[in-house]
């Protein structure tokens, strides 16, 4: 079952672009959370709105996305997330 072969990670950000506290935002400053899933084939990340009072991520509020395929791009330098939005990628890769 592929869903059992997934590793998750996440990282918070205070804003959509780099600023002085992007590395280590305090809880109250967190506005965006990047959630990643990894499989043997790819890493998929969505950066979504985050409410630090409620500790809630809003997956309808997507700020950005990343998608890298292990076989063709092991160093994760070629983000093909936008390609995936055009429906050119198999549906099975989508969340």
């Amino acid at each position: 079952n592929p869903r059992e072969l997934v590793a998750y990670s996440q990282y918070p950000r205070p804003a959509d672009s780099p600023q002085w506290n992007s590395d280590k935002p305090s809880l109250e400053d967190i506005k965006v959370m990047g959630y990643s899933i990894r499989t043997v084939d790819y890493r998929y990340t969505v950066w979504v709105g985050f409410n630090p009072q409620e500790f809630l991520a809003n997956f309808s509020d997507i700020h950005a996305g990343e998608l890298y395929f292990v076989a063709s791009d092991p160093l994760q330098d070629h983000n093909v997330y936008n390609d995936s939005l055009g429906g050119t990628l198999p549906q099975s890769f989508m969340p």
Partner: protein
């Protein structure tokens, strides 16, 4: 039939740039030797690539969204839930639990006490020389002392004439000696500080990595298609005096190529220095004849970008910052039991002539290696206390996977350590 002891080694900011993970440049003979007697996981990942959330996550077995710790400013027991920790679980099951060095991240996130007394039987130990880590102890070309990023030192020349990880090793060895005489099993967690910045290490280790042998990252540019939100500006690096002197532009840099090489050189030197400390610790375990009765686990809180994607820090979701080394030595399972009188973990000097890193004892390429690293640390509990009854309601909630294994008397996990296919027991993966 006696309970096994546990030695958990936690390294700070160590990516799997090690001989046992196929890196030909790095001299890490002692960790490689441990790997050769261990189950080695090729694809283990941290939950969040920053110290406090990652450590609380893997020590409680819960995600940051559950511990509600994404920064450094809260203590999960009062902020999110009174979640037990792995050492606490051992303590409650009759183990003497001890913490040396940086196990929990210090400060509010561990209640200014390293979660003591919940997690630890005795007050955690911190090396006295820790306080000099960020002070001006690096001799610059001007002859003055600076708070630099690159900080190879003459150990005799630094305050107290020692470094934190050296002190932690000595303390851990002393504790092992004491535990040898006690009847109770022990859980000893040793947290090493390097290769975390600043790269403050005995200067002789620099010679292992001549600059002409040190390459740049294969992809030192910020990728064109990287969303702005995904990039981190590695502000902590910029605060060091020698980096400030480079007058880098914020937030993207870049760092001049020759300085990039020096950063990588010092990171690698710190890894080899760290390896010698692990080697001394494991050699002592051997000398005390504890190698046949002690599980050894080694991992890191997260990785570190060495210039990949134009980044020089953790603080991201890239694989280079989230992937961690992870290995378990289980006596008699991942390697044959040591023969009496034979050195099982002899100290190996990284300055000795280079040889190929030995093959891992057992290796997990796919399958469960893509599960969260936290699950792997549950293995410790599964292997060691698997026959103990689970009576506590809170514990049932905390360790659902363990509860399953209590009922099954851990046979699934033991199969894994015995090298039998876990596909026979697919529920193990869940």
């Amino acid at each position: 039939t006696d309970p096994l002891n546990v030695l958990l080694i936690i390294v700070d900011d160590l990516r799997p740039s090690l001989g046992c993970y196929g890196n030909k440049l790095i001299r890490s003979p002692n960790i490689d030797q441990l790997a050769s007697r261990s189950l080695l996981f090729q694809n283990a990942f941290a939950q969040q690539a920053v110290c406090a959330p990652s450590r609380v996550s893997f020590l409680t077995g819960r995600r940051p969204d559950t511990t509600r710790l994404y920064d450094f400013n809260s203590y999960w027991r009062v902020h999110a839930g009174n979640f037990s920790t792995i050492p606490q679980y051992f303590k409650e099951n009759g183990y003497v639990t001890m913490s040396v060095g940086k196990v929990f991240h210090p400060g509010i996130s561990s209640n200014h006490s390293d979660d003591s007394p919940y997690s630890w039987s005795v007050p955690p130990y911190h090396p006295s020389s820790e306080k000099y880590e960020n002070t001006k102890t690096c001799r610059g070309p001007d002859g003055e002392l600076h708070a630099n990023l690159l900080c190879p030192v003459d150990v005799l020349d630094v305050p107290e004439g020692t470094l934190p990880d050296m002190q932690s090793t000595e303390q851990a060895i002393q504790l092992l000696g004491k535990m040898k005489t006690l009847a109770s099993p022990f859980f000893l967690a040793v947290g090493y500080h390097k290769p975390h910045i600043p790269f403050r290490y005995p200067k002789e280790f620099q010679k292992l990595y001549p600059l002409e042998n040190v390459s740049l990252a294969p992809d030192p540019q910020v990728p064109a298609g990287l969303p702005l939100v995904a990039y981190n500006p590695w502000m902590d690096l910029r605060q060091r005096e020698d980096v400030q002197a480079l007058n880098l532009s914020v937030p993207y840099g870049p760092i001049p190529a020759d300085f990039q090489r020096k950063i990588r050189q010092s990171y690698f030197a710190c890894v080899s220095y760290l390896d010698t400390q692990v080697g001394r610790l494991l050699s002592a375990l051997d000398d005390l004849q504890l190698a046949s009765s002690t599980i050894v686990a080694l991992t890191s809180d997260h990785g570190w970008a060495l210039g990949e994607h134009g980044e020089w820090a953790k603080y991201s979701n890239f694989d280079v910052t989230t992937r961690v080394p992870l290995m378990f030595y289980v006596p008699g399972r991942t390697a044959p039991l040591p023969v009496e009188g034979e050195k099982f973990f002899p100290y190996l000097d990284p300055f000795d002539s280079v040889s190929e890193a030995p093959e891992p004892g057992m290796e997990m390429q796919n399958g469960p290696s893509f599960l969260l690293r936290d699950v792997k640390l549950d293995y410790l509990v599964k292997v060691v206390v698997l026959d103990r009854p689970c009576r506590c309601k809170e514990r049932l909630e905390l360790w659902p996977r363990v509860t399953v294994n209590f009922n099954r008397k851990g046979r699934n996990l033991l199969k894994l350590f015995e090298g039998r296919g876990e596909e026979e027991e697919p529920h193990v993966r869940g």
